[in-house]
Symmetry: C2
Subunit: 230 residues, 2 copies
């Protein structure tokens, strides 16, 4: 049976207590999903402050102890729920092709615009907005939760940019398109922040609308710089 | 008397009820400052959730009604307190010279590095960190407060970058240093986000340390682009 499970199905082994209850993994998986859905729905409807473990348990139809057996806090529930949501969305976006990471068509500018446009769509998606904002806001004032959010969710995503920028540096060095490449002396881990930083800033602080045109402009400005090219 | 008040003294007219109580403006000013200090101290010590109007009033030695007469909510108190703190810090930083805005020495790269290093210092200053994080976090989940934060605090600061980048565009067009200038076709309101976005992203999400070296690198990458220069 396990081999026929589609890749879109969450892995029950991610539930922290699956090792304790190997015989009830399907029921555990149902409960885990119900708890995730309840946490995401609640935070969107009533905000983080009122998304208590009690409220999540009541909405999911489980006992508080079920939640506390698996997670140490509501923040941990919400982070897992959000990671689950993100994984499911990524699988849908992949159309079953199984590809991960940033595409490498050999055209860095086009690849980055495609990815940043996708990020804009995700940030503007109501299903993501409430839990994303709730988690980001909590992480900003709670260093432990923020570190967990960065370690488990953000940094793996940023690493995809590092990989793509490194590939562009390597291609540039072996005869690739210099104009759309990356200077070999740049640190890709810093360079990516010129791409994701502006989007995050605009989205988090709502300074102006997040659009595809904005994403394209950020890629253009970041790749070719603000200073005139000689 | 008003003329001899040093520029570092906050303007009592900023207290919302000063028009109602012209005879008690000095006492009002003392109360207002005590309320600001209490709000900033509390949010740093116990976090935003516990920084209630009751707690601020108790710490400031005023009645709750005094606060509600002047401000509609604790968020409004904290925003005013933070604006006051920012103005006082800016006045100290100016050394009484009265200068505002981003310096224009004719060397855009040096001017931007100076300003971004100053921003790094401010973001790393414990006096700013707690209230800044509390306000940013609340603004992320509360659109009305976020809009107020952006309108009163952030956008005026961003406008200083617009002014400096426009000056660089104008100087470039009249024989200025092209290498450290700004392309004439760029939108300065978007271009500035490549400078402030990465710093805000790194600070808000604590992905990595905020240092002067980082600020310098962001300016270099933003001005000269990630792609190789032909």
């Amino acid at each position: 049976m396990a081999d026929s499970v589609p890749s879109g199905t969450p892995d029950p082994s991610r539930a922290p207590d699956s090792s304790r209850a190997p015989d009830s993994s399907r029921r555990s998986e149902r409960s885990r999903r119900a708890i995730h859905d309840a946490a995401l729905a609640l935070v969107g409807e009533v905000g983080y402050a009122k998304t208590t473990v009690e409220a999540i348990a009541a909405r999911a139809g489980v006992g508080k102890q079920t939640i506390y057996r698996w997670w140490p806090s509501r923040a941990a529930v919400l982070l897992d729920a959000f990671l689950d949501l993100t994984e499911r969305a990524a699988q849908v976006a992949e159309d079953g092709a199984g590809a991960t990471g940033i595409p490498d068509t050999g055209d860095l500018e086009a690849d980055l615009k495609r990815v940043l446009r996708g990020t804009v769509d995700e940030l503007n998606d109501p299903a993501f907005e409430a839990p994303s904002r709730a988690l980001a806001a909590e992480g900003i004032v709670d260093p432990a939760l923020g570190a967990e959010f960065v370690r488990r969710l953000l940094e793996p995503q940023l690493q995809l940019y590092v990989d793509r920028l490194r590939a562009a540096q390597a291609a540039g060095g072996t005869g690739g398109d210099q104009a759309a490449g990356v200077r070999p002396d740049l640190d890709p881990r810093i360079a990516l922040e010129l791409l994701v930083g502006p989007l995050a800033h605009r989205w988090l602080l709502r300074t102006a609308p997040l659009t595809h045109a904005y994403a394209d402009t950020i890629v253009d400005y970041a790749l070719y710089g603000l200073a005139p090219r000689p």
